[in-house]
């Protein structure tokens, strides 16, 4: 198990609890309830589940935006807990995130250049020349034109904005990329462009992905292994191929049965 990048052991995250000022109890919500898994270097772990299954909470814990209430999480052999100062900088150099809503994840008052150069400056402490160089390279990598650098987010379509989000995450050359529903806000033709780009980047940069989605077909197309979540717990896990071919848990089966498909028709038209 030398090549394990992420190891999570019995992760728990609670919300609420405690009491109000008037002494009334606030009900506790167990958003993530005892989740354990590991991710190897260079592989893609898919996390699938419906709304309220805790998959976004899990993503936010993985990137250090939320602290686990209990359990143990380590990335690249280092425990993720109470990150601050140099530790936090080192962690965020290795772990980045792509968000669901491409437009809301970009500051409307900043140009693309400012959005992309910020992390390079803060996390890598790079000078002006290196910043420009890195930003130019990453822009090319995600397929955006250099003249986009001086524009503001509202001038872009959803697909272009998501490429900018991807560039921002990749510009510090992280090892692990956590993607929280990165294509669900996009139109199908644009979604396919971004998925193809993600596959391509993974081969070229040797990235490790944790890919969160409610769309089973997208997960199956991109991931090596899958984690099926329901109500904060993992109900089934295993290689995509096995899980989707022969789902063991009733919930996985009901999820799969619910997906409307153009199956027969598409089979006919694909060579």
């Amino acid at each position: 198990m030398v090549d394990v990048l992420v190891a999570a052991d019995a992760l728990v995250r609670l919300f609420g609890g405690g009491r109000t000022w008037l002494g009334r109890r606030v009900p506790v919500v167990r958003a993530v309830d005892g989740v354990s898994f590991w991710v190897r270097h260079g592989e893609t772990l898919g996390v699938v589940g419906e709304s309220g299954s805790g998959k976004s909470t899990l993503a936010r814990m993985l990137v250090g935006l939320l602290a686990p209430s209990a359990g143990h999480l380590s990335v690249a052999g280092r425990p993720v807990r109470g990150l601050a100062g140099v530790e936090a900088v080192r962690f965020h150099r290795a772990v980045q995130m792509v968000f669901q809503d491409p437009v809301s994840s970009l500051n409307p008052r900043k140009t693309v250049r400012q959005i992309l150069e910020g992390p390079v400056q803060v996390l890598l402490g790079a000078g002006r020349a290196e910043r420009r160089d890195r930003v130019a390279r990453i822009l090319d990598l995600v397929g955006l034109r250099p003249e986009f650098l001086e524009r503001y987010p509202h001038e872009f379509s959803g697909g272009q904005a998501q490429r900018i989000g991807l560039a921002r995450a990749l510009v510090v050359e992280p090892e692990l990329l956590v993607l929280d529903e990165p294509v669900s806000a996009l139109d199908v033709s644009i979604q396919a462009q971004v998925l193809t780009l993600l596959r391509d980047l993974q081969t070229r940069l040797g990235l490790t992905y944790v890919f969160i989605s409610h769309d089973l077909a997208v997960i199956e197309a991109l991931c090596d292994r899958v984690l099926v979540m329901r109500d904060g717990r993992v109900v089934e896990t295993g290689p995509c191929r096995t899980v989707f071919r022969a789902p063991q848990h009733a919930y996985t089966r009901s999820l799969m049965a619910a997906v409307p498909v153009v199956r027969q028709a598409i089979r006919v038209c694909t060579p």
Partner: protein, 646 residues
């Protein structure tokens, strides 16, 4: 999913837009003139404002030595007015700045840090607001002693709450946005997130609050000086001049009237500028809250509308006309000088018991087409400029008077929209909302309508319907809410049911149940279904015929099985090829390169030409017509037949 296509048209700058607002221009002219004169005071040929001349006291205006007369000590009123305005402006502006900086700081920190810090700061602000603020200002000055500086301080303090509350509110809506999370992941410190991420985004709110309070603060300064708590004699400011003139207002009204008029004009000017700025910067007003909603989409009258039908008359279809026949529908959005052709030349027929799916990506015009049927496209900016929509063989829906249209809405033609949470009235029990539509169209008694509502809630599969009918929308889950909306739509047994992405906001398992429900109920009631979606899978499950839309036009139509098996338009082919299919992970996703053209800059020829793998020169030269390409099938492609072999 409903986003409009990205517009290459740039919004004019703030100054250009401000210059279109005549009142704001008037206001800025007044303010600029007053500020200019006040600034130039040291260089103007003015008498010393504090020079007393008892011999020349109370000269009337327009006297040879003093243009605006003199006061009871013989001081020149014009000179005192200009120097006094200088003082009032300086105090008003400084107080605004101090209040803005302190208040915005408190608001930003309270919203960003949250928790106990927020509580402590905002309760402090509440305490400030609990006092009538002029009284509070008086108390502060009384405690510190009367002087202009203390008045300034007092006025700043009492105005801090306005800034703190406005900025906290604006910041709260931002701190949950994902770009703040992204900034944290970029390693930004809390201070940097406050100053470089949050502050620029709440700046418009600060500017609006400043521009609307600065006039007020000048008034308050004048008020304190009037009471003798601000400017101390002999220094002039507008308030103290008013105070001096008050005692002799009967014998020499000009001494009080002149500063009074100036205060009035100045504050009106500032408020006009402030209102103008607010109209431009306030996002809520930008989103069109100022434009009055119109009960139906503006429609060109039949005489001038290309493709309009004669108002009534027998249809060419003879004995069994289709239920809904749309021909050449043109709906456009007119924003500024730009015309967005959201739907152009759309043809659509729906027979009794049909289920027609309309598929397309955002901005393809599928929703606009559906909304045009009953004139529900918002006006402004929407406008129907061409075509006809014949309902039940006789009437053109585009020419029906509004009352007739309203009788059809929710009656014979019903809609189901994407997000049940925004469709339902949050303040009304759901049963009442269903009963309301029943009553509107069937004229039942309250009790009868309620019974019908409960019955329909039962039919759409809500457990314990009588109990659920009394629930408010927020007490139901997303799936239950959408069931209520479906009950509302079906309760009047419509002939046509138009569903616009009804399951997009729902989870897959819920989606499957809702789709089954729609399908069952449609079969039972015999209603025709027009189903709008971006999801090809849903169309395959639910519809018999499909219409593919791209850039406002129908590019292909036909029976679902045939279209999906042998798509004739390259866009349909591309769309089918780029959807990941469960069970086929090895299938390469052939993404369609590029983006759809913006509908305000449509090319002359085929709109898909730039993304098409099999484009030829002829495609770009002239508009491509929609033509028959097989049994009951049409496609808008010159090379539709080539695809069969490729």
């Amino acid at each position: 999913m409903m986003e409009r296509p990205a517009c290459p048209w740039r919004r004019p700058s703030i100054w250009v837009r401000l210059s279109r607002n005549h009142l704001a221009v008037l206001g800025s002219t007044i303010v600029a003139a007053i500020v200019l004169v006040a600034l130039l005071a040291p260089w103007l040929p003015l008498v010393d404002p504090n020079l007393t001349a008892p011999a020349d006291r109370l000269q009337p205006p327009l006297s040879p030595t003093a243009l605006l007369g003199t006061d009871q000590l013989g001081r020149d009123v014009l000179s005192r007015l200009i120097w006094g305005t200088r003082v009032s402006l300086a105090v008003g502006l400084s107080a605004t700045l101090i209040a803005a900086v302190a208040g915005s700081g408190i608001g930003l920190v309270a919203a960003y840090v949250g928790g106990p810090v927020d509580q402590a700061l905002m309760r402090g602000i509440d305490m400030l607001m609990a006092f009538p603020y002029l009284l509070l200002a008086l108390a502060i000055v009384a405690a510190l002693g009367p002087s202009l500086m203390n008045a300034l301080l007092a006025i700043s303090v009492v105005n801090i709450p306005f800034f703190a509350r406005a900025v906290r509110g604006a910041t709260l809506s931002l701190v949950r946005r994902e770009f703040i999370d992204a900034a944290r992941l970029a390693g930004y410190s809390r201070f940097r997130i406050l100053t470089s991420e949050l502050l620029p985004n709440v700046m418009p709110v600060i500017v609006i609050t400043m521009s609307t309070t600065v006039g007020w603060m000048i008034l308050e300064t004048a008020g304190l000086s009037f009471l003798g708590l601000g400017a101390q004699p002999p220094q002039a400011d507008l308030g103290s001049m008013l105070g001096d003139g008050r005692r002799i207002v009967v014998t020499a009204p000009h001494v009080a009237a002149v500063p009074g008029v100036l205060i009035l004009v100045l504050v009106i000017g500032i408020n006009l500028v402030g209102d103008g700025l607010r109209d431009i910067l306030d996002p809520r007003l930008k989103a069109g809250a100022l434009s009055r909603p119109v009960a139906r989409t503006a429609t060109m009258p039949a005489q001038r509308r290309p493709g309009a039908l004669p108002s009534t008359g027998p249809s060419e279809h003879g004995s069994s006309p289709p239920l809904l026949a749309m021909h050449g529908l043109d709906t456009q959005f007119e924003i500024g000088r730009e015309v967005y052709r959201a739907a152009s030349g759309v043809d659509l027929t729906l027979g009794r018991g049909d289920s027609l799916g309309v598929v397309g990506e955002s901005g393809s015009g599928k929703s606009v087409t559906a909304l045009s049927v009953l004139g529900l496209v918002p006006t402004p900016p929407g406008r129907i400029t061409g075509g006809s929509i014949r309902f039940d063989g006789t009437i053109d829906l585009l020419d029906v008077p509004l009352s007739g249209l309203q009788d059809l809405r929710g009656g014979r033609i019903a809609y189901i929209f994407q997000d049940p949470l925004t469709t339902l009235n949050p303040l009304m029990p759901v049963g009442e909302q269903v009963a309301e539509t029943v009553q509107r169209h069937q004229g039942l008694s309250n009790r009868g309508a309620w019974a019908q509502a409960v019955e329909w809630l039962d039919r759409v599969g809500l457990r314990a319907p009588a109990e659920k009918a009394r629930a408010f929308p927020h007490e139901l889950s997303g799936g239950q809410r959408q069931r209520v909306v479906i009950a509302m739509a079906l309760a009047n047994r419509p002939d046509v049911l138009i569903a616009d992405e009804p399951t997009t906001a729902l989870d897959v398992t819920t989606q499957a149940r809702i789709l089954d429900l729609v399908n069952d109920l449609r079969r039972q009631s015999g209603a025709a279904l027009l189903f709008i979606t971006h999801d090809l899978g849903v169309i395959a499950t639910l519809c018999t015929r499909v219409l593919v839309m791209y850039a406002g036009q129908v590019v292909e139509s036909g029976p679902v099985a045939a279209v999906f098996a042998t798509p004739r338009h390259p866009y349909t082919r591309g769309l089918l090829a780029c959807v990941p299919v469960l069970g086929q992970p090895e299938r390469a996703l052939d993404a369609i390169p590029g983006l759809p053209p913006p509908v305000n800059r449509l090319p002359r020829g085929c709109a898909f030409a730039d993304r098409c793998p099999s484009v030829v020169a002829a495609c770009r030269q002239a508009p491509v017509p929609l033509r028959p390409v097989g049994p009951a099938r049409t496609a808008r492609c010159l090379r539709a037949e080539d695809g069969l072999h490729g």
